[in-house]
Symmetry: C2
Subunit: 328 residues, 2 copies
């Protein structure tokens, strides 16, 4: 079958919100008066962002999830997306799985596929996502204030734990790996939390490269510093019970040394990192409850520039961790 048939079969659906969807030179989108369009683009490349043999359903989910996560970090309501899909060959079973994972997440967020491009080449996926945010209400990286609490949603480090295990660097029992792998392969974009934090969070970013690296972007944009409590961060590793439970073979100190890099620099968490004034703790708890998404405090913003990461002994770990950098 040809390209146009493939697109029609797996991706073309009746247009709902957009004025015009897949099948013309452009899609047409009409944002409501008083709103701004939030736009983000992310590429996933085989061998770099995913294993080439990952389940296509999971890959479809993740390709959109990482983009929705950017909308969440801006407090934007998802509207629509375009898909640029580069494939070595037109494998129908693969496409069917990819489309079902992609469109299930799209439907869950009311986010409509409005256009795209399918080309032959090394497997990669670029999605550009569109969201709506009331004029002037987007969450930015630039608003953190000295004294603000630093929060993280959900869990940290499990995605990296799974990656390490799948790369053969760390054996894990099957049930531990299975859960961690879900975090790696099918992250949940925190869209509801982002919406609930509008007008409340002073800054926000999504965690794609690791807590410290992404916090660094907030510090740079907001021209502030931060103190992070490493032992609060490692509490957020969902798999910690395996390492710290009664039957664990790991000492508490062994665990800490393994846990710090997972929680602080693991990457691929797709949680929200955000800041809010300390007098707003009850409102943050209410926003988390509304969004049915747990949040936890992991530090505070300081007027003093730089990033300090305190371990249990009060030592600064910051120098041990560098941001994941795609070309580093």
């Amino acid at each position: 079958v040809g390209e146009f048939d493939l697109i029609a079969r797996y991706f073309a659906r009746p247009v709902r919100r957009a004025a015009l969807g897949v099948g013309d030179d452009c899609a047409l989108l009409c944002p409501r008066p008083g709103t701004q369009l939030a736009i983000s683009t992310d590429t996933l490349v085989a061998g770099r962002h995913f294993f080439a043999d990952v389940a296509p359903h999971a890959l479809g989910h993740k390709a959109l999830a990482v983009n929705l996560s950017d909308l969440a970090a801006c407090g934007a309501q998802p509207l629509a997306f375009t898909l640029a899909l580069t494939l070595p060959a037109a494998d129908e079973a693969w496409l069917a799985g990819f489309a079902s994972g992609l469109l299930a997440l799209a439907d869950a967020h009311g986010c409509e596929l409005i256009g795209g491009d399918t080309t032959a080449g090394p497997l990669s996926i670029t999605i550009t996502v569109f969201g709506e945010v009331p004029q002037g209400r987007a969450l930015l990286r630039s608003g953190a204030q000295p004294g603000d609490d630093i929060y993280v949603s959900g869990t940290l480090g499990d995605a990296r734990l799974a990656l390490n295990a799948l790369q053969g660097q760390r054996p894990l029992p099957p049930e531990v790996l299975a859960h961690a792998r879900q975090r790696l392969e099918t992250p949940s974009p925190r869209v509801a939390l982002g919406l609930a934090l509008r007008g409340l969070a002073t800054s926000a970013i999504d965690l794609s490269d690791g807590l410290l690296g992404d916090l660094g972007h907030i510090l740079e944009r907001s021209r502030v510093g931060a103190e992070v409590e490493a032992d609060d961060a490692i509490e957020l590793i969902a798999s910690r019970a395996y390492f710290t439970g009664a039957t664990s073979q790991f000492s508490s100190e062994d665990w800490r040394q393994q846990a710090y890099p997972l929680a602080l620099a693991g990457g691929d968490d797709y949680e929200l990192l955000f800041t809010a004034a300390p007098q707003c703790r009850a409102e943050v708890a209410q926003a988390a409850a509304t969004a049915q998404t747990p949040v936890a405090r992991v530090g505070r913003i300081t007027a003093q520039p730089g990033l300090r990461v305190r371990d249990a002994q009060g030592q600064n770990l910051a120098a041990h961790f560098a941001s994941f950098d795609h070309f580093a």
Copy 2:
């Protein structure tokens, strides 16, 4: 240097129209009241859409040009674009050339880079472009009417001629190749013509896959047929003087047989194909003059379904040409 440095150095520029540009989780764009946003995505893959050793300046130009061409085909005014760039390595000389070609064309059209993603992997470029069109005034593929004239802007077939020469399939004198290669590597998106055709053209598409294949999309969407005059189409090959001039070694019939596939199925022309009512010929000529873009009639729309391509002898060539299909 790291990814973020590269982006900052070559692509980050002061934001003009967008509310927020490169450097946050999302860009923010605020279309004017009464307008729709026209959106299109195109990917260029090394080895498929361009030679890996193409001049980076030309590649930057073309990556945006093919997207602007989609806006032109909708009659949309370019606003902004996102860039997803996948590179084998962070080669600064390459990036500088790519960025200069990309941003020169962007500036020429007042089209602002508002976001993107840079990843390591096999060389490919996905651009998503945003344009503005007054509500309900976009040129679509679906409005062609029986009796309408079929027009093509500019020239046809020279891009394919250059591709054939560069692939060693057809020797060309250096000056002929140089011109044809410009058409292949640095096409001119017909944005001004698209704007001038609003309210005048009944349908439009840009020529990326070849005249007959792209006309086929209009016929399908408009539920009509067409007759194309092959000898009118080959008149639009800019390099024809080389093949048909007094010193040419080609017979007139030799030339026709070589010219038909170039003009009718060459691909990569990035001209506009559009339809307009025959009583609007003077207005079409005026639109072409306003846009400083030549246009020529190459056929007409018919109520009878199907595509008929008449050669000089009145024979139907349609069966000889199939649309370029990326997975065919």
